[in-house]
Symmetry: C2
Subunit: 348 residues, 2 copies
Amino acid sequence: MTSDASANLNRPLTLRDVSEASGVSEMTVSRVLRNRGDVSEKTRDKVLEAAKTLGYVPNKIAGALASQRVNLVAVIVPSLGNLVFPEVLSGITEVLDETELQPVYGVTNYEPEREEKVLYDMLSWRPAGLILAGLEHTDASRAMLRSAGIPIVEIMDSDGTPVDAMVGISHRRAGRHMAQAIVEAGYRKIGFLGTKMPLDHRARKRFEGFTEALAKEGLEVADQEFYEGGSSIMKGREMTQALLTRSPDLDFLYYSNDMVGAGGLLYCLDQDIDVPGQIGLAGFNGLRLLEGLPKTLATMDACRADIGREAAQIIARHAGHPSAEAERHVLKPTLALGDTLKRGPRRR
Amino acid sequence: MTSDASANLNRPLTLRDVSEASGVSEMTVSRVLRNRGDVSEKTRDKVLEAAKTLGYVPNKIAGALASQRVNLVAVIVPSLGNLVFPEVLSGITEVLDETELQPVYGVTNYEPEREEKVLYDMLSWRPAGLILAGLEHTDASRAMLRSAGIPIVEIMDSDGTPVDAMVGISHRRAGRHMAQAIVEAGYRKIGFLGTKMPLDHRARKRFEGFTEALAKEGLEVADQEFYEGGSSIMKGREMTQALLTRSPDLDFLYYSNDMVGAGGLLYCLDQDIDVPGQIGLAGFNGLRLLEGLPKTLATMDACRADIGREAAQIIARHAGHPSAEAERHVLKPTLALGDTLKRGPRRR
DNA sequence: ATGAAAGCGCTAACAC
DNA sequence: GTGTTAGCGCTTTCAT
C-alpha cells in the first residue's frame, strides 16, 4: 500500500513532505492543492502524484489561520430526536452542497446554558456563518451573536426580534389558525395535550396563539394534559386516556405534535370513538412519516426543509461579504384537515 | 452593553486586545483563560474582567495549531432521518459531555463517495478521534483511516474487519436469529420486505443471515418486495398490499425496519387478518417511538445508545495516548416477540 | 510560472 | 507568578 509510507512516519504529513517528495516548493504545492494561480501541467502532475502517494491530507487548521477564512457553517438545533430538525438540516445541506461551505452541527437539548456553551465552542472555530433555532437566547449568547461578525440566521420562529437574519413561521399564528379552524368546524369543548414547555418556546407560542384565538370566540381550553420527555405514540395514548377519563365531554383534542397526536388517534379508534364526529383531533408538524395511519391526522406543515434551504441561502449570499441589510423571511404553514377535523361551514 | 466595545472594532478580538486592556502579558492571559499554571488571584480577576468586558472569544484555530491538540471527535453517520442514528449520537454525547472532547457530526447519505469527502474534510481539521458507522469504505477512505494517526471506532456492525476499534452487533446473526424464531414458531411461507440495499450494508447482512438460516431449515424466502427512499408507515402499507396481493398464501412477513413493519401491521389489521395467527410479522430496530400501536411488533433491539456510549468511551480512553490494542466489542441484540410473532414450542 | 519571506493568533518551553 | 522567544503549517505578498 502506497499510503503506508505515511503510516510509518508516525506524525501527520505536512506540505513540506509533499514538497520534498515532489521536488517542488511548498508554495507551489499549496497552489496546486488549492487550484490557485498558474501552475504548469507538468509540476501539477508531479505534485498531485506525490500528494496521493503519501496520502497527504492538508491541515485546515493551519490553512484557516493563515488565510483567515474558514468554510464551516455552524448549525445549532435543540434536538435530533425530533424528526423536525433532521429535516431542517437536510434542507441546509442540500443548499450548502452547491457551495464551498460545510455545515457543522451542534445540539442544545433545549437548554439555554447548553446553547451558550455550544455557541461559544463553535464560534471559537470562527465559522463563516451561523444558523440556530429560535429567537430566545441568554444575554451572554446574544452578546456573542452580536459581536461574532458573521452572518447569523435564526430559524423556525418569527415571533420575536432576531439578532440578524431570520427564517421561520409564526407559531402564534399557527396556533391561532388551528383554533379558528376548530371553532369554525363547530367544536366547543377543547382539550390540549402537549409537552411541559418552559423551554420549548415554539410549542409555547403555539399554545398561546391557540388560547388567544379561542378567547376571541369566548372559549377557553376546557382541560389539558402535559408530559415530559420524548414524544411517542404511547405517550399520546396514555395522555389521551387520562384526559378523556377526567373530562369525557371534550369534543376536540389539540396535540402539540403529530407523534403524540397519532397515539391519541389510535386510542380514540380503539375506544370506538367517532373521529371526527364525536371528537376531533389535530397535531402539528406534518410528519410524512406517519402517513398511513388508519386516519390522517389534521396537522400543520412547519415548512422545515424550506426553512433550512432559505437559511443556508442567506448564509451563502452573505458569508465573507460585508453584510448588507438583514433578511427576514416569514413562511406560511399550510393547514391540512386530514380525516380528523370536520370541515367548517365558513371558508378561510 | 459592554460587549459593544468589541462590536465597534470590526475585527475579531485577539489575546493581545485582552492583554492590553488588562495590562497583563498575552501569555498570562492565555494561562488564565485556560486555567493552566499558577496565576495570582488578582491578575486572574483582572484578566477575566477584561475578557468578559470585551466579549473575547478565544481563537481555537490558532490555539490548536500552536498546541497541536484539537478536542473534536468526528462522528460520521449515513443519515439523521433514520431515528437510529440520532440515538447513537445521543449515546456519544452523553459520554463525551463528561470529558473535554466535543463531537462534530457529518452525514453521508449512504454514499461511499460522500463518506470519502466528509472523511477527508473532517480529517483535515485533525480531530482527536473518529467514530464512523459501518465497516465498508472505499479504498481511499480506508487509506485515510489507516494513516490518520488517531483512535478510530467503526460502529453498528461487527461483520467484517475494522481498521482499528469496533463496537456493534452482527446483523447477519440478527437475521439468522429472527429466521430461527420464525421457523420455530411454525411459519413456513415467509415473505421479506425491505429497502433496495446495495448501499445499506447492515440491512443487506440481516437479509443474508436471514435467508441463510432459512436455508438450513430447508426453506427459502417465498416472495419479496423492495422500496426506495425513506421508511414510512405508508410505504409499509403499500408494499404489504402489493406483496400479499401477489402471494396471498404467505404466513410471515419480515420487514427490514420497524417503520415499514408498522405500516404492514396496520394494513393487516385493516384487512382483518389474524396477526400473529394467520400471518406473523417482524421488523428490526426496537423503535420505542412506535410503542402504542394496536399490537406490538416483533423486533430486535439494535443497542443503539449502548453502541454510542461504548464508542465514545473508547475514544475518550485512547485520544492523545499511544493507542494500545484495538478494542472490539460485539453487542448482542435482544429479540422481542411482541404480539406479532407466535411463541415457538422450543426455547432458545 | 515559481520561490522567499513574513506572519496569521496562539501555546510550549524556557527564562527570570 | 510572570514574561520572552520561537514556531505550529499553512497562505499572503512580493520578488524573480
